[in-house]
């Protein structure tokens, strides 16, 4: 193959990679939106909005299947190397993680439906701040993937600690609300579940961040908690 042929072929492959990246971006944006909508439904005690969120999860699942199929086809046909190989293998992992984010959004929406029928908890403590940090991590992890920004990805990983601490704090806060207001036990339990799902979303955003670092720098940072990510000791008691 002459260099000119090679460059032409490569441009077509670049186009295919770009289309895949756009699909992944669409999937990630959908998942992020789902989390935001589910959290809004929790806040506004809106069971209908929650149900709409639950109904839309199928779109994310369909995107996951499409991304998986395209990625496998590209691996087979292009036999990618180096950066392209890392991108495609990580695309498979990232799409699986984003699909899980979608599932957690559904869990939160289900909590929202139950919360809409329960007596409210007077004080939700750090839950709003936790939601803000977790969704911010997700948004930035996606941005880091799009922009191949390893620094931003590292920053996402470092925020996971904070979410774990909020999770502990919400857990304790809800226990205390249950003691003070037995009528709010049902709602407080649901809030604990919302917090647990947010904590999981933050974990998945951290995974995305680690995957982006691998794509960009070919460095595996996973399980080297001291370097980039929080230590796992601080995981919430609820995280069983």
């Amino acid at each position: 193959m002459s260099p000119a042929d090679s460059a032409r072929a490569s441009r077509h492959f670049d186009q295919e990679l770009q289309e895949l990246r756009e699909l992944l971006l669409r999937m990630a944006s959908r998942a992020e939106e789902q989390v935001r909508n589910a959290l809004a439904a929790v806040k506004q005690r809106d069971a209908q909005a929650a149900q709409r969120s639950i109904d839309r999860d199928g779109e994310i699942d369909a995107l996951e299947l499409e991304i998986e199929e395209r990625t496998i086809n590209l691996l087979a046909r292009r036999q990618p190397m180096a950066g392209d190989l890392r991108t495609l293998v990580m695309t498979l992992k990232i799409s699986t993680d984003i699909e899980r984010v979608g599932d957690h959004a559904v869990n939160i929406a289900q909590c929202a439906k139950r919360l809409a029928e329960a007596l409210p908890v007077p004080d939700v403590g750090d839950l709003d701040r936790m939601a803000e940090v977790s969704t911010g991590m997700l948004r930035d992890a996606i941005a880091a993937f799009i922009d191949r920004d390893a620094e931003l990805a590292r920053d996402v990983c470092q925020r996971d600690d904070q979410v774990d601490r909020y999770n502990d704090s919400v857990f304790r806060g809800m226990l205390s609300e249950m003691t003070r207001y037995p009528g709010a036990i049902v709602a407080a339990l649901q809030m604990m579940l919302v917090a647990r799902n947010l904590e999981r979303i933050a974990d998945l955003a951290t995974n995305l961040g680690e995957d982006v670092i691998y794509i960009v720098e070919a460095r595996t940072v996973k399980h080297h908690a001291g370097e980039v990510v929080s230590d796992v000791e601080t995981e919430g008691e609820f995280d069983q």
Partner: protein
């Protein structure tokens, strides 16, 4: 500066020091220093004209046969410079064999092809054993044992190439140099050569030049990327194909070169 991370730790089968090759005024190899570890497969890759075949030919003085080629620097084999005055190039080529892109059996019988080298170096009494052992090592014995007197040119391309490998093995070399040994073969014959390379490396050191990057990735332990006569990067094959350190290597292995 090139990235060279392969160190044979004293177990080098070959070592080059600032090897340069000139064809007239054109410098085809511009000072390459590298080690080829013993009983490992090293792949030389790079675009056409990068010097990979020229470098390969330095390893057993095949460039001597090109009148305009001038080699400087050292190629050390058992601590001795192959280009030293007293070294006999014929003996070099016995101990460092070569297999070419196009199978080139002699128009003789299968037996005579393999027996050719041993006969040249004296008539060993166990010639039949040498022929059988070499054909077995080249994974050809079962296919030809009943027709040893047939003309070698009647074999398929893949069989001819394995015959050439058997012919090289018959003179008990330590190193096998392979210049695109599978590029003229169909995928099945090519796969057999690759399988054979992985068996041979238990006993031999192999340096292979290939245009086929997937082939380099499949068969080699180490890969050297050359560009216009320079060694750009030389590292273990996993690193070269998953996370090369040099941008130029990355561009080549991902097909963005040019």
């Amino acid at each position: 500066m090139p990235t060279i991370r392969v160190s044979a730790n004293g177990e080098a089968a070959l070592e080059t020091r600032d090897v340069r090759v000139r064809y007239g005024n054109n410098e085809a190899i511009k000072g390459i220093t590298m080690e080829i570890p013993r009983k490992r497969v090293v792949a030389l890759i790079g675009p056409s004209g990068c010097g990979k075949s020229t470098l390969l030919r330095c390893f057993n003085r095949m460039n001597d046969l090109v009148p305009s080629a001038a080699v400087t620097g050292e190629v050390l084999f058992h601590g001795e410079n192959l280009y030293a005055d007293h070294v006999d190039p014929v003996e070099v080529r016995r101990r460092i064999g070569m297999v070419f892109q196009k199978p080139n059996p002699f128009p003789k019988s299968i037996y005579d092809n393999v027996a050719f080298g041993p006969r040249l170096y004296g008539r060993p009494p166990d010639l039949d054993d040498i022929v059988e052992r070499s054909l077995r090592q080249a994974a050809l014995w079962d296919e030809v044992k009943d027709r040893m007197n047939d003309n070698a040119l009647g074999l398929s391309g893949g069989q001819q190439q394995r015959l050439c490998i058997a012919r090289a093995l018959a003179v008990t070399p330590e190193i096998l140099l392979m210049d695109e040994p599978a590029s003229a073969l169909d995928p099945i014959a090519s796969a057999k050569i690759e399988e054979l390379i992985q068996q041979l490396v238990e006993h031999y050191t192999i340096v292979i030049v290939t245009h086929n990057m997937q082939q380099a990735a499949r068969v080699s332990h180490y890969t050297a990327y050359l560009y216009i006569g320079e060694l750009i990067e030389y590292d273990d094959t996993n690193t070269i194909f998953t996370a090369p350190h040099e941008k130029h290597t990355e561009d080549y292995v991902t097909g963005r070169f040019g």
